[in-house]
Symmetry: C2
Subunit: 260 residues, 2 copies
């Protein structure tokens, strides 16, 4: 068979999702970027300009000391009543409220809340898994800034211009199960906006705006493992646009929210 070069016009290339493994246990005060780079070195992995690094928020929060000891919490009288009603530890309710600016739903053992960042999720993002028993991990205070720190360190130490996405696992209405989404961003435009573009038939795509930041977080989750400590992955080959947009822009504005 004759190999005809012109026949192998591949315009989009493939994307790789590469787990960063053997990341050390993260203690308060740890430098996450340093831990990631140490693992990369141990794993003989490299990072390249154009990579997207997705990091679960949990190791960020732990490093930043955004962890609460349940023992230290004194629930308010509302948290006690509400905890009894929902079948939840009143101290946990107290912590959830402390991390919320609006309660969306309180029902059947569940609190759906809006965080100060604007994200709507179960328990305002606080979580008891993958942390010492009796402790609760909160969301990072400023996940964009946490992402930025990792990005800057990679640039400085490795010379690689990467983008960083901080992820969390969120449920969603109407569909079973949870998926990973982006809650912190640095160096990446989170949306691909097709509005005003025309398809091959000349149709104007009026409403299509893809939240690729969330898709990157979801893709990364496929390589993570909630039990085996793979809290970060490299996504290589995804051609993103550089930008300094905050992940807060992923939270729907109240004026555009049909389900508020």
């Amino acid at each position: 068979m004759i190999w005809r070069r012109s026949k192998i016009l591949v315009t989009t290339s493939s994307i790789q999702i590469i787990p960063i493994e053997r990341i050390q246990e993260v203690e308060k005060g740890a430098d996450v970027a340093l831990l990631l780079m140490e693992s990369l070195r141990k794993n003989r992995q490299t990072i390249k300009t154009g990579d997207v690094i997705v990091v679960t928020h949990k190791i960020i929060s732990k490093a930043e000391g955004n962890v609460v000891d349940l023992e230290s919490v004194s629930p308010s009288s509302f948290s006690i009543k509400s905890g009894k009603h929902l079948g939840k530890d009143p101290r946990l309710v107290e912590v959830i409220l402390s991390q919320s600016r609006r309660i969306v739903k309180m029902v059947k053992g569940l609190i759906i809340a809006e965080t100060p960042h604007g994200f709507v999720c179960a328990n305002a993002g606080v979580d008891q898994s993958n942390v010492e028993l009796g402790k609760i991990v909160l969301l990072p205070r400023n996940p964009d800034q946490s992402a930025r720190k990792i990005r800057d360190a990679m640039k400085e130490t490795l010379g690689a211009e990467v983008a960083v996405v901080i992820s969390d696992t969120f449920g969603r209405p109407w569909r079973e199960g949870q998926v990973d989404v982006a809650i912190g961003l640095s160096g990446i435009e989170p949306f691909v906006d097709y509005r005003g573009k025309t398809d091959q038939y000349g149709y104007n795509l009026k409403a299509t705006v893809i939240c690729t930041a969330d898709e990157l977080a979801s893709a990364a989750e496929l390589c993570m493992n909630k039990l085996d400590r793979v809290p970060a992955v490299i996504i290589r080959g995804y051609p993103f646009k550089r930008s300094e947009v905050s992940a807060r822009s992923l939270a729907r504005k109240p004026s555009r929210d049909l389900f508020r």
Copy 2:
């Protein structure tokens, strides 16, 4: 440097997302599996047992003739009134209603509807993009069956045991932008259920069920392009569990739906 094999214990491996390009224009009656295999051959790509093939529903619907000519639609009196109220073509409203079993929201030029499959999405999944002008593409009638046909054909012709995911682009409450989700499945368990499992600290993950089928669809979207005709991708290296679960199981059951 001494290469120490034991030091490179990588337990999770990387995942590849590979676009299947140069898929021919899909006409009514086309065999999608055949078109995909033809493209693979032209692109000198292979498919392997264990691959997940993600296909956008649009080429399935077109092949299955699930396309409506707007000219042929006579809107009901409700569709006329509602179209006027919403600022939508009454014929489009008529088609949306014909594809719905429940209207969730009708507001600001938008109809959020529940399809007979149980999926809640804008316009009951009907879409005017990437089809001849004046035509509307509906969701496949039975996306699981469409997935099954592709899977069976790949098995028979190429000897590869793949899983097939049919995807669509859905908006979601509380977050800006849309992401791709799974609406048809064959040969793959859509959830990874951590309930009852314990993390490294002995904490019992009470509520964590990841919808990896949706994450696979989202990951695939990163390699697709709404304008350049990449309607299918191969996801390689994702270790999924085989199952014959319907994608309808991804639609939240009314009894479990807090936002119904």
